[in-house]
């Protein structure tokens, strides 16, 4: 590795490798997911019980991306991320109440949270629809992987590249064929796709579109 001589990724007209780790704020800005059905469900006229939305999916499938996209629509919401093996109390001061990694809530926490008359948005590996309905809440279950068709992946990847554009000049584009290849190789695991493209962009010495990975 030679000492630095230029601005990062200037040869690709980018400010950085677009497929590196993003801050929560950047992820929120980039969250390209269809959420109108979720917001319509959450904004339904109030009933006796506030609605609950659960985004269900495995690691890397886009649960947190959904939550961050939704967070942008609700400035008064509160967001709690549940760590593994640690007790953390859920912040219920806002509305809606967002809980990421909700499968880590204790039964007592679940019962108490389900009873709160606040709209709930859960990111979870487990399906809570039965217990939520039992608590009287209307429930909308969203599969996190619903945005992993090649066309949507193509859009997500290129939007990410455009976000780090350095000047109005063109930036490299990931082709639809590459998006299809990635979907075939990694299924719905967006995180794995990003890892693959990170390596590809690190190795790009000259400006070119991404036609194969």
């Amino acid at each position: 590795m030679k000492p630095v001589v230029g601005l990062a990724f200037a040869h690709l007209n980018l400010r950085r490798n677009p497929f590196g780790e993003l801050s929560a704020q950047e992820r929120g800005q980039l969250a390209i997911v269809e959420i109108s059905d979720i917001t319509a469900f959450l904004n339904q006229p109030s009933t006796n019980h506030a609605p609950a939305v659960q985004i269900v999916g495995e690691k890397g499938y886009g649960k947190t991306t959904h939550l961050l996209a939704l967070q942008n629509c609700y400035p008064r919401c509160t967001y709690t991320w549940m760590p593994e093996g640690e007790y953390v109390s859920v912040n219920t001061n806002g509305d809606p109440v967002f809980v990421d990694e909700a499968q880590r809530l204790s039964r007592k926490q679940q019962a108490s949270l389900w009873r709160e008359n606040k709209r709930l948005v859960l990111g979870t590996h487990d399906d809570f629809s039965v217990s939520l309905r039992f608590a009287g809440r209307p429930v909308l279950t969203i599969e996190a992987r619903r945005h992993t068709s090649p066309a949507q992946v193509y859009e997500i990847l290129n939007e990410r590249i455009r976000m780090f554009r350095r000047s109005p000049e063109p930036v490299p584009e990931v082709s639809l064929t590459v998006a299809e290849q990635l979907c075939e190789r990694y299924g719905s695991d967006i995180r794995a796709m990003l890892g693959c493209l990170y390596e590809h962009f690190q190795s790009m010495k000259d400006f070119e579109d991404v036609r194969k990975v």
């Binding site: 590795m1 590196g20 991320w81």
Partner: protein, 503 residues
């Protein structure tokens, strides 16, 4: 045109490159599109990492460019800014980790996203960070110091927490006691078994702080207690980028090998009981801009591992963390071992024929070399005293004697003489087979390395001899005189000697 205001940052230098300590300057241009009630226009600068790991960042330095006020459409505001470029970390673009410096400007607007702009700029090594004092035998902490005194209450909480952790660990230790005992006994048996063969292995790595491309020395000595075979004694220098993404159970640590260089210190063979194995090696450190870096989720680490590979027996290994820093930073620290104890142990550990202590200054023969620790490198700008090219070896020695023994000028003097053919007569101290030639020329690899004193002076010299001189050198002993033609390569700051090659 977008939003209430457009914000732009323009640097005064087109290449956006500054050295640490220089004044980063430019302008913030705010074009107002709609009437805006501003709570102030601010300039912030900081460093941040980007890449495969979570973002680490430095402290944010904020300056108010304009106080709160009403901004009218059509207004074009321009604010000049200037601040000293940070000294550390310097800009780095690696594989998993990138470190960049940013200037951002924003207009603080209530109840709306602040119009803002952010631009990156490059920081190259410049002034020496204030932490860089002391000696090169200790890693220098570059973590920023806490700005605020945390107070007694905070300290008391920390003490209580530590106490609680200690109790928990002690309780856990009782449960895990059998495993702990087994592991401890195994480690003790292993160390005893190695000690039975190798005796006390004395290893000296005097430069824990090292610069890219620098010649890095290592010495190893042990006296075998029994006869045994070794496969090899080797040195491995390794640089690793490590970046962690996610958190909790979703945390993933990615690593990337920046460099992995193996050097053979001694080839395999039988070591006889009572034989003293004494090896020294100087290896060129990799040329790289991947300076050591340590943050919460991103790090660049350099290590040196020495291994005595013994067949069908546990290997003797030891690993040390090294700190790779820009060459410019070495101006702030002394090159010699810090403490008298360290120097004493190094001298005792490595050599009894004063080879280690040999860098006695020829210009001041009574100087005790152990006093080196108290000297600081001469920080006089070398550009003001550019050395003349020496025409002969005595001329070169005279030039060296004119400057302080710890002066960086000595490096420049020898560098200036590099390539000049010089006739020299050397009183031989010792001759060893060349391993890993510093001349960067493989034709010296099967030759000898001669260490001695230049006749008529007290100046030490080490010469890489050509294989063709092997028969002559084989007939010479310690104390004999050897005449040859050489060209200087470099000044060895550790041993205070000239490194040269035979031509």
């Amino acid at each position: 045109m977008s939003g209430k205001c457009d914000v732009r940052i323009v640097f005064d230098r087109n290449d956006r490159t500054w050295r640490g300590g220089e004044s980063v300057s430019g302008r913030v241009i705010v074009t107002v599109n709609q009437e805006t009630k501003s709570n102030g226009i601010r300039l912030t600068h900081t460093w941040k990492t980007h890449g495969r790991g979570n973002t680490d960042s430095g402290p944010k330095e904020t300056e108010v460019l304009q106080e709160a006020g009403l901004l009218s459409p059509g207004q074009n505001l321009e604010f000049a800014f200037s601040f000293p470029a940070p000294l550390f970390p310097v800009t780095y673009h690696g594989h998993l980790i990138h470190i960049d410096h940013y200037v951002s400007a924003d207009v603080d607007v209530s109840w709306a996203r602040n119009p803002s702009a952010e631009e990156d700029y490059i920081v190259l090594p410049g002034l020496v960070p204030p932490q860089f004092t002391g000696t090169r035998d200790k890693v220098v902490s570059l973590k920023p110091e806490s700005k605020e005194d945390s107070g007694l209450i905070f300290k008391a909480i920390i003490v209580l927490l530590l106490g609680a952790i200690l109790v928990a660990v002690a309780m856990l230790a009782i449960v895990l006691l059998p495993i702990v005992v087994i592991v401890t006994v195994w480690l003790w048996l292993k160390s005893q078994a190695l000690k039975m063969r190798l005796g006390q292995v004395e290893l000296s790595m005097p430069l824990k702080v090292v610069a890219p491309g620098e010649s890095w020395p290592l010495k190893l000595k042990f006296t075998a207690r029994r006869s045994f075979m070794i496969n090899s004694i080797s040195l491995k220098i390794s640089g690793i980028e490590s970046a962690a993404s996610g958190s909790g159970t979703n945390k993933t640590t990615h690593t990337h090998q920046l460099a992995l260089e193996s050097h053979l210190i001694r080839e395999g063979g039988v070591v006889e009981a009572g034989e003293t194995v004494e090896e020294s090696i100087q290896v060129p450190f990799p040329e790289t801009g991947a300076y050591s870096f340590e943050a919460a989720d991103n790090s660049i680490k350099w290590t040196a591992e020495v291994r005595i590979d013994i067949p069908r027996f546990p290997d003797w290994t030891t690993s040390e963390t090294l700190q790779l820093v820009p060459t410019e930073f070495l101006g702030g620290i002394t090159s010699a071992p810090a403490s008298e104890k360290e120097l004493h142990s190094a001298a005792n550990a490595v050599n009894t024929d004063e080879d280690w202590d040999a860098p006695e200054d020829s210009s001041s023969p009574n100087t005790d070399s152990r006093k080196r620790s108290t000297h600081l490198i001469d920080d006089q700008p070398t550009s003001l005293r550019r050395p003349q090219k020496a025409a002969s070896i005595l001329d070169l020695v005279a030039q060296l004697n004119e400057v302080s023994r710890h002066s960086t000028l000595r490096t420049e003097i020898v560098r200036a003489a590099a390539g000049t053919l010089m006739s020299v007569s050397i009183t031989i101290e010792r001759t060893v087979t060349t391993i890993g030639s510093m001349a960067g020329d493989e034709s010296y690899d099967s030759g000898k390395t001669v260490t001695g004193t230049i006749d008529g002076t007290r100046q030490l010299i080490q010469v890489l001899a050509k294989p063709a001189s092997n028969p002559v050198l084989a007939s010479l002993q310690s104390g004999d005189s050897w005449q040859t033609n050489i060209t200087p390569i470099e000044w060895d700051t550790l041993y205070n000697r000239i490194n040269a090659k035979e031509v």
